[in-house]
């Protein structure tokens, strides 16, 4: 089958809309939506093919071959890629349809569609890559699309700043990624997955001296270094600690892209990468521990911050960050299948939550602060009920997809050794917090008396079907996705680790997780519905903790103080001292010297004939003298 079309259809959509968007304008969805639906259909076919056992590798285009270096574009379809394909095309299709209603009447309508088509293309090519370089190229490409889309409303300075921040922070991570790439090539002499995976066993024992450039000596396993460097990229892309600071600001972009990029697809690229490169990571227990710990830190960090945020999109953003931490933690503990399972279910219910936020925002004329909401459950029934379903999935309420995937994850973590057990405890505590804050959002935004701005209060109504139908579809998926048997489907990909999920403590973990979820919901109900004055009292009692949570643990402030300001100062000094004084000074100095020389020589032209006559006489004297001497 022509599976190359899966990414190429969105590319065509991007090109057409990019070039002709100015004339197509409001009809842009007629180009974009069919393309992505077709892509989805083809993905389903690919899935069926793979389920039957046909893997395939297609080489699309060879760019250059030089010695051992072979740079090409290729497509590799196996079980892991095909579930990602389904996720990306499904969510992309639903977001495309949603956008028809959300961005209706906006001047940048066609541009928006062209960018999300470009993003879909890039993400698909990333997932389908069969070599490191292609992975990296499209890694950057999705980062670019993120920048373009966050800054879609480019007249807003805050949007532009957020887009720049996202791109730059990502770039910091990508720096490590590039170094990892280079090291891969240096170690394995190839950038193909197949060749590298085949050579891991051999390379596993080699060491390298990481302090060589500064004359020191510290021998570390080469594979560990590779894994850590590549993981830096994942830290940036998947908003893990410490490069998580861009994700909340990315909420400046329109809500559909928050759903598409910052919930379901782009941020999951990091998790996907770790899972894809499982053979590499398996060879380096040290790197895996680092990955797991980083994931766990992020998981707790996100949850603690989400407790106090008042912007509904930010709450969901920090929730995303926290759930990504879960997934990374799982991969770090060897439970790749569980991590991917959670990735898929999370894609469904998080996209649902974001789109639900979008629905609320549109209904309230772009109001995002939950303190000015309330009483919406009767006015926006579809939105409300789908939102509840999504929140239940997020909290891990029994029988939702989120319940199954979170359980799988925690059980796998618990059976992964002592580190896994410690982190699993943190995971359980975070599950409590997760349930609490997600239902805090539900209760504050939808229940209780209406605190909506009186001007808009009478006009609140459910948005158009183009927006509500995707919500319904996603709600169904949020429940149903748990019953598709995804982990069993994926396990063959990660063969050595299939044993983890079925130990003796499994049942206990599952019960504990469910209890945590229900406790969280009950707690939120108590605090926000029954006794609404409690939150303020708690905030007063634990002032410091509240401030730290509200201000995102002061990460932005710290980065600003210790990294950004010094860089600005250094750059400014370099500019003034070197660029202006030395370089410009030299260039201008040369010009000035020549001008002075010209002024000096000009004095010869006095206009007086006698001066010239004297010159002639002197010349004659010189010649005669020379003649005389010789």
């Amino acid at each position: 089958m022509t599976y190359e079309l899966i990414p190429l259809l969105p590319l065509a959509s991007f090109l057409i809309l990019g070039i002709f968007g100015h004339w197509i304008r409001d009809k842009a969805h007629l180009v974009a939506v069919p393309a992505v639906i077709l892509s989805f259909v083809l993905s389903v076919f690919a899935f069926i093919d793979v389920a039957v056992g046909h893997h395939s590798t297609i080489r699309l285009y060879t760019w250059l071959t030089s010695g051992m270096l072979d740079i090409h574009l290729g497509v590799r379809i196996d079980r892991l890629t095909v579930v990602m394909l389904l996720l990306v095309t499904t969510v992309s299709t639903l977001v495309h349809i949603y956008t028809i209603g959300y961005m209706e009447g906006e001047p940048g309508y066609a541009r928006f569609f062209s960018y999300i088509a470009l993003f879909t293309f890039s993400m698909l090519m990333l997932v389908l890559a069969d070599n490191f370089l292609q992975l990296f190229v499209f890694w950057e490409a999705v980062g670019l699309c993120s920048y373009l889309l966050i800054g879609h409303w480019y007249e807003r300075p805050s949007a532009v700043a957020a887009a720049t921040k996202a791109f730059i922070v990502n770039r910091v991570g990508d720096f490590g990624f590039i170094l990892g790439l280079l090291l891969v090539f240096a170690t394995f002499n190839s950038l193909d997955y197949a060749t590298v995976f085949a050579g891991v066993g051999q390379a596993a024992g080699t060491m390298m001296n990481v302090l060589k450039p500064i004359g020191g000596s510290l021998e570390v396993s080469t594979v560990t270094v590779i894994c850590l460097l590549l993981f830096m990229g994942a830290v940036g892309k998947s908003a893990q600690f410490p490069l998580h600071v861009w994700l909340p600001d990315a909420m400046e972009g329109p809500t559909p892209i928050s759903a598409l990029i910052h919930a379901a697809t782009m941020v999951t690229a990091g998790v996907f990468m770790v899972a894809r490169l499982a053979p590499l990571y398996d060879a380096s227990p040290a790197a895996m521990s680092v990955v797991a710990v980083v994931g766990a830190i992020t998981m707790v960090l996100g949850a603690t911050i989400a407790l106090t945020q008042t912007d509904i999109k930010r709450v969901v953003a920090y929730s995303t960050m926290s759930q990504l931490g879960y997934m990374i933690m799982a991969c770090g503990l060897g439970a790749y299948a569980a991590g991917m399972y959670h990735l898929l279910t999370h894609g469904a219910f998080k996209a649902l939550l974001f789109l639900g936020c979008g629905s609320v925002i549109i209904a309230l004329h772009h109001e995002q602060d939950m303190r000015r909401m309330g009483g919406l459950k009767d006015k926006l029934p579809i939105t409300y009920w789908t939102f509840v379903v999504g929140s239940l999935a997020l909290a891990g309420f029994p029988l939702t997809a989120g319940f199954f995937s979170k359980d799988e994850l925690l059980v796998s973590a618990w059976s992964a050794g002592p580190l896994g057990q410690i982190l699993a405890v943190f995971g359980l505590l975070t599950a409590l917090l997760t349930a609490f804050y997600s239902f805090r959002l539900v209760f504050v935004a939808f229940w209780g008396p209406s605190r909506v701005d009186p001007h808009h209060a009478h006009d609140v109504h459910e948005p158009s079907p183009t927006m509500t139908v995707p919500l319904l579809i996603l709600a169904v998926l949020s429940i149903a996705a748990g019953y598709f048997g995804i982990p069993e489907f994926l396990t063959p990909v990660f063969e050595p680790h299939e044993g983890g999920a079925h130990g003796g403590g499994a049942i206990g973990i599952k019960i504990l997780a469910s209890i945590m979820g229900i406790l969280g919901i009950a707690g939120a109900y108590y605090v926000y519905v029954l006794h609404p004055s409690v939150p303020d009292q708690l905030a007063q009692r634990w002032r410091t903790a509240y401030e730290w949570s509200l201000h995102k643990w002061y990460f932005d402030e710290a980065y600003d103080r210790f990294i950004i300001r010094p860089t600005f100062t250094a750059a400014s000094e370099l500019w003034k001292r070197i660029d202006v004084a030395v370089i410009d000074g030299a260039v201008n100095g040369v010009a000035r010297a020549i001008a002075w020389g010209a002024w000096f020589l000009r004095l010869v032209q006095s206009g007086q004939a006698q001066h010239y006559a004297l010159g002639m006489a002197l010349g004659a004297v010189v010649i005669l003298t020379m003649f005389f001497m010789l």
Partner: protein
């Protein structure tokens, strides 16, 4: 005893250099032209001396023509001076510096 040729050459050189220095020193255009006449005369002396010494009349022919040309040059030069004087009411050569940068 005939006078050695070198004496005439010396005399000619002296007059010539005097004329040269005059051209370079004086600021009155007329005096400059007079100094040029000096230089011409010096060369004439030289030619005649050599003509006599080498018994070749060609030297004197040249003097003849040099004389002619000197006359023509003086005529034109003085006409120019008159025109200059009409323009600036001065014949101080320092005043004519339009070609200054």
């Amino acid at each position: 005893m005939t006078i050695p040729l070198s004496y005439y050459v010396t005399l000619s050189a002296v007059v010539f250099f005097t004329g040269l220095v005059g051209v370079l020193i004086r600021r009155n255009i007329i005096i400059i032209l007079l100094s040029v006449e000096l230089m011409l005369n010096a060369t004439n002396i030289n030619f005649v001396a050599f003509s006599q010494s080498l018994h070749n009349v060609a030297g004197q022919v040249f003097v003849f023509f040099a004389l002619t040309v000197a006359a023509a040059e003086v005529a034109v030069g003085l006409a120019i001076i008159i025109a200059l004087h009409r323009a600036r009411n001065t014949i101080n050569v320092d005043e004519f510096h339009l070609l200054k940068w």
